[in-house]
């Protein structure tokens, strides 16, 4: 029995005989649930949750002992007749698997709430939790929903590693669960990634603390070996990958250090033939390379949703194209009136539509 598992639900089973313990262990590994492979049987001192077999002659004593020693730790009682135990959650033998998962889930969530417990890994479960937390749409009056701290997400972690990789001229491999990986190649300015796109989208919005990542330096030979062995590995330009990842992470927000009451400018157009073009990104670029203006005024000027502006700003910021300090370059003119329509606007629109639908 292991002592403790990082980022897992550590469970102690008291009063169970060896065959029952083995069955429980298999159950945690085999049966489909959101906690599959994330529940582990551990020693009493390291457990987050306790399962007690009340049919064992020492069952009652074990329960009392557990309550005394670990008052905040949840207990699940299993017994032929669990009603004999007052003020405790009981499950009737033989155990119903689905019900057991529900009990574990409920008790575990309870632990989290009461102790602000360490996060449990399991990307999919975290996503569900975060989805619940992120249901509220972005609201201009709610300052918390406008900002995000890149360092709290994969984006910031990756940026820091890229910086290290460039400084040290070393390849960095970021390892995720289930053999997924991201490799930074500072020499060719490339990113190699073996991570399903959907999963990347999901983990981009998960708090960094809840992600299990460890990084290691690798040699060029190791990188070449990985490229050969991992046929599904995809390669991206570093700038494009950061740009895309930031769009996903920002999710309609701007970095924490953005001052929304200061005007912004765009140093130059992003290289859109090699970056993902997003809705209105070209129009925002056309505006901001000529005019300094407030981020909050762009949606009105261009008649586009605010989140597109914030996403664009965040992505352009990550590749060093946006700025907020006083711009001394006389290329920029503060926008005072709405830009005029071109005299051939109809032709320009028709051409765009033609190129778009062809």
């Amino acid at each position: 029995m292991n002592t403790a598992y990082q980022n897992s639900i550590n469970i102690v089973a008291l009063g169970l005989d060896l065959p029952s313990l083995t069955r429980l262990k298999s159950l945690f590994k085999v049966f489909k649930s959101i906690y599959k492979n994330e529940c582990h049987l551990v020693e009493n001192d390291n457990a987050d949750l306790c399962i007690i077999d009340f049919d064992d002659p020492k069952g009652n004593a074990l329960w009392q002992q557990s309550l005394e020693q670990y008052p905040s730790r949840p207990n699940i009682i299993i017994a032929s007749d669990p009603t004999v135990v007052n003020h405790a959650d009981g499950m009737t033998k033989p155990l119903n698997i689905d019900l057991l998962w529900e009990f574990i889930d409920a008790r575990y969530q309870q632990t989290r709430k009461t102790t602000q417990a360490k996060a449990v890994s399991g990307v999919h479960r975290m996503i569900n939790q975060q989805k619940q937390e992120n249901k509220t749409p972005v609201n201009i009056d709610d300052s918390e929903s406008l900002y995000y701290q890149p360092a709290d997400y994969l984006q910031g972690y990756l940026q820091a590693k890229i910086q290290c990789a460039k400084q040290e001229k070393t390849y960095f491999k970021l390892n995720f669960r289930e053999n997924s990986m991201i490799i930074i190649d500072p020499v060719q300015q490339m990113i190699y990634i073996d991570l399903p796109t959907m999963l990347l989208k999901q983990i981009s919005q998960i708090s960094r603390q809840m992600l299990e990542i460890y990084s290691e330096k690798i040699s060029e030979t190791q990188l070449n070996d990985i490229k050969v062995k991992h046929s599904k590995i995809q390669v991206y330009r570093l700038e494009k990958f950061l740009w895309d990842l930031t769009y996903l992470t920002a999710n309609g927000r701007v970095p924490q250090d953005t001052n929304l009451s200061q005007q912004v400018f765009l140093q130059h157009w992003p290289n859109f033939t090699r970056l993902t073009k997003t809705p209105s990104a070209m129009r925002i670029s056309a505006l901001l390379v000529k005019h300094t203006c407030l981020l909050s005024s762009i949606p009105t000027i261009l008649r586009i949703p605010e989140y597109e502006v914030f996403n664009f700003y965040s992505a352009a910021n990550v590749i060093g194209l946006t700025g907020q300090t006083k711009c001394t370059d006389n290329t920029y003119i503060a926008l005072t009136t709405k830009p005029e329509a071109h005299k051939k606007r109809n032709i320009l629109s028709a051409l765009l539509s033609h190129l778009g639908i062809k």
Partner: protein, 184 residues
Amino acid sequence: MHKIIFTGPVGVGKTTAINAISDIPTVSTEQVSTAQADNKTHTTVALDYGMIRLNNGECIHIYGTPGQGRFNFMWKILSEGGLGLVMLMDNSRDNPFDDLHFYYNEFKSFIAANALIVGITHMEDKKTPTISDYHEQLRRYHINPPIFEVDGRNRDDIRSMIQALMYTLDIGIVDLDSTKNYNH
């Protein structure tokens, strides 16, 4: 008459780029080349011509200027009445900035009155100068046009350039491409 002009040095890929977006087979006036360009046996001596037929019945005429400097008397004639200029630069040439300044100065008045986009070709062959370096060069003229890395054979690249050119002329226009999304 609505026109878009493509210009740039010999061998940069003007004819190919026009071909990528033209609705008709590009009309070229090519002769055996006397200029230096890798693997280029023929070059445009008068002009390239392509056309885009719009749904409203109108046409956009696309002209490519001859690359060789001795044909520069043609450039002004071709660019008259143009909506904007697509300037293609070959990054693999020895001094691409010389080309940039040369073509900027040749079309300076046109650029001031209309719009410019710069496409850099052959960046896969030679990574420097970078896109930022080109921007830096043009800042001395107080202009900040879109500068994209392009492959003249890639229709999407050329299409993106034209899109950017249109938005440079008028940020108020919208196109159907804006439906492409990140699944927000």
